[in-house]
């Protein structure tokens, strides 16, 4: 199955309808996500970051591309790998890093770590759970709510290639098609599930072609081209918004790093990895594109780099200053009625009546 990229080369509008400002914002996001990913890994290796990291490096084209196609009021149901999509959707990096360091100002108030994060009332993202792909059926429910109320809103869910072999994936796609729900299914096909390659996950050549089994459009897109991912996602999102039902998008990249911080990923063939890192880097590629079309110049790029660095440092400082949650409150916030989540975190790591 050919990817959509082949088709768009013929298209006239290289910028797929996006203003200079939005294009620059996408460049910022791509670079921010890349930088956060690199810095977290470095800190992890230095033993300065507790818990786990799940690098999304090399897949920023997918993450920034699909999440950029959503409006603020749309919802996003991602997995462990999709921090970049959550950042794109609007997570506050300060609170993200506070979460990585287990602090009270993290989105889960220290109850969970790393990319098991979410911000329902702000960025409208699901607080990630490990069990794959557990958020897929939940996205059906959110989409059902939009449809029921006639709201022009869309739910988007992301999972990995490996998660498509799980029964929940089938159930969710099936139900979304039966009820014609306003939902967009994204599969971040980074070619591996941990060490398991695509061939051991599904028997077809592509994941996109499986959309036929759900009577919905299936699109395969090459994630080195963030604008192409955006275009495809935007089309799917707007179709869903207008009542056209669900779409399955398979966005293909390669996982540049191991599954998690400890995994050297020796099972990925060296040549494949080099090919992707050298020739299919979605960040570099997009930067070159904007330079070539003079949407940015070298000074603007340097400015973006500077902004990214500053944002990270500020967030890092914020996270380090944020207190740990107090142990005494460990049983609170289980039941809604105890009011834990309606109170604000205090500077001592507890919560106080607001």
């Amino acid at each position: 199955m050919a990817t959509t990229a082949d088709r768009r080369t013929a298209a006239t509008d290289w910028r797929v309808g996006l203003s200079d400002e939005r294009l620059r914002e996408i460049l910022y996001l791509l670079k921010l996500c890349r930088y956060v990913d690199e810095r977290l890994e470095a800190l992890y290796r230095q033993g300065r970051l507790p818990g786990a990291i799940y690098s999304g490096r090399g897949q920023e084209g997918t993450h920034v591309g699909v999440a950029s196609a959503l409006r603020k009021e749309d919802s996003l149901f991602p997995t462990h790998r999709d921090l970049s999509a959550q950042l794109t959707k609007g997570l506050d990096l300060k609170r993200v890093l506070a979460q990585f360091w287990g602090r009270i100002d993290g989105y889960t108030r220290g109850r969970d770590g790393n990319s098991h994060i979410g911000d329902w009332y702000g960025a409208r993202t699901w607080t990630v759970m490990s069990h794959l792909p557990i958020a897929y059926p939940v996205a059906c429910g959110a989409a059902l709510a939009y449809k029921r109320r006639g709201e022009p809103r869309v739910a988007m869910a992301i999972c990995g290639d490996g998660a498509t072999s799980n029964g929940r994936w089938h159930e969710a796609l099936n139900v979304s098609a039966i009820y014609r729900l306003p939902v967009v299914w994204v599969v971040n096909n980074n070619q591996y599930a941990y060490s398991t390659p695509n061939e051991l996950e599904f028997p077809t050549g592509t994941i996109a072609e499986r959309a036929a089994a759900y009577d919905m459009p299936g699109v395969r897109v090459d994630a080195q081209d963030v604008l192409e991912v955006y275009r495809v996602a935007h089309e799917a999102v707007e179709r869903a918004r207008e009542g056209g039902g669900p779409t399955l998008i398979e966005s293909v990249s390669l996982r540049w790093r191991g599954h998690a911080g400890h995994d050297p990923a020796r099972y990925v063939p060296r040549g494949l990895l080099e090919e992707y890192m050298e020739n299919k880097d979605p960040v570099r590629r997009f930067q070159d594109l904007l330079l070539a079309h003079e949407v940015v110049d070298q000074a603007a790029v340097a400015e973006i780099d500077e902004r990214v660095r500053r944002d990270f440092e500020e967030a890092y400082e914020f996270a380090q200053r944020s207190p740990f949650p107090v142990g005494e409150e460990v049983t609170m916030g289980l039941w809604v009625e105890d009011g834990y989540w309606r109170r604000e975190p205090s500077r001592e790591g507890g919560t106080e009546a607001s």
């Binding site: 329902w120 059926p137 939940v138 429910g141 059902l144 029921r148 099936n174 139900v175 289980l334 809604v336």
Partner: protein, 348 residues
């Protein structure tokens, strides 16, 4: 009764559940449950139902008969056989402000949605602060010759799993009042209806649409002074029968109906044990790590100084529920078994 409810009754032309009470105004447990659903749907349009065969068919046990006609297919949704996704949809809709009530055709099939129930539904709020007002209801329990896959008591699994309230009512009034409380509760609730009780037990059930029974409160359904029986669900009725027989033998039995399993009303249980000093914990879920294991452990710890006899448990063994009458009767604690256990305790 509010004008709204009257109107709904009128609209239903007797098809609505209240029209199915007896002449004397009594409702079965099943009808009481249907009334609870109906009233809460009338009261709050965020409440909707989803599940297998609940619409056109009115549910495998006919709890939702007449609902499709009254509330339409958007609020009475027939779903595919996909319990993970039924639960997932309920979660997603709840996140967006709805108050879904999902029916499991049998509580046995809650195991087919287990991950979504225990991992997603139970653990989401604690980590995110997002309330999930979801009720999962289904017919549970044995005693009706329905064998292994239509008689299960899943309450121990869920009562152990954080973040889920678990309710097992024994009487029509409690069923109605607790289900209404469950629907109005902002937390996920597993609501287990005992299918042996569905059509067997009737009583005059309050009609006030704001009648509620609080979650987390046990009830002393029979006062007594010699031995306490702590139980819930179908076995409340069997214990009542045993208590009658024991009365004749001069043993006064107090019966505590737990009603809610999670959170458990430890206080009411301990108060009864403090009074009688002897306790039989009677339960229908498998013995090993069934509900009564927790109850017995709490009594052993909390009422130690008051006990004149060991905390005794009576419950089915940990084997699948068998079909044959001889086997199912041997599996479930029978009234004579209850009588014998209480006699042993009384004689301690």
């Amino acid at each position: 009764m509010s004008a709204r409810t009257l109107e709904a009754g009128a609209a239903g032309h007797g098809a609505e559940p209240r029209g199915k009470r007896t002449e004397a105004g009594e409702a079965t447990y099943l009808i009481a449950i249907a009334e609870a659903l109906w009233e809460e749907m009338e009261r709050d349009e965020r409440v909707f139902l989803l599940g297998e065969d609940i619409g056109v068919y009115g549910g495998a046990f006919k709890v939702t008969e007449g609902f499709l006609e009254r509330f339409g297919p958007e609020r009475v949704m027939d779903t595919p056989i996909a319990e993970e996704t039924i639960t997932g949809m309920a979660i997603g809709a709840a996140m967006e402000g709805f108050r879904p009530v999902a029916e499991f055709q049998y509580a046995d099939f809650m195991s087919s949605g287990f991950d979504m129930i225990t991992t997603a539904l139970g653990r989401y709020h604690y980590r995110s602060g997002v309330p999930l007002p979801v009720v999962l209801r289904g017919p549970s329990g044995g005693g009706v010759r329905a064998s292994s896959f239509h008689s299960f008591n899943p309450e121990p699994w869920f009562a152990h799993s954080p973040g889920l309230k678990v309710i097992c009512p024994a009487f029509p009034t409690d069923a109605k009042g607790l289900l209404k409380s469950a629907i109005r509760d902002d937390n996920p609730v597993i609501f287990l209806e005992h299918k042996w009780i569905y059509r067997r037990i009737k009583e005059v059930v309050p009609e006030d649409p704001d009648f509620l029974v609080p979650i987390g409160k046990a009830r002393v359904v029979r006062e007594g002074s010699d031995v306490s029986i702590v139980t819930y669900g179908m076995l409340v009725h069997w214990a009542l029968e045993a208590a009658e027989q024991l009365e004749g033998r001069g043993i006064s039995v107090e019966i505590v109906d737990l009603r809610t399993i999670q959170p458990l009303d430890t206080e009411t249980v301990l108060r009864s044990v403090e009074k009688t000093s002897r306790v039989l914990v009677l339960y229908e879920s498998h013995r090993f790590l069934g509900v009564g294991a927790e109850v017995a452990a709490q009594i052993a710890e909390g009422a130690f100084e008051h006990l004149d006899a060991p905390v005794m448990r009576l419950a089915p063994p940990n084997v699948p529920i068998p079909f044959s009458p001889t086997l199912e009767d041997a599996y479930l604690p029978q009234v004579p078994d209850i009588v014998a256990a209480v006699e042993r305790l009384a004689a301690w």
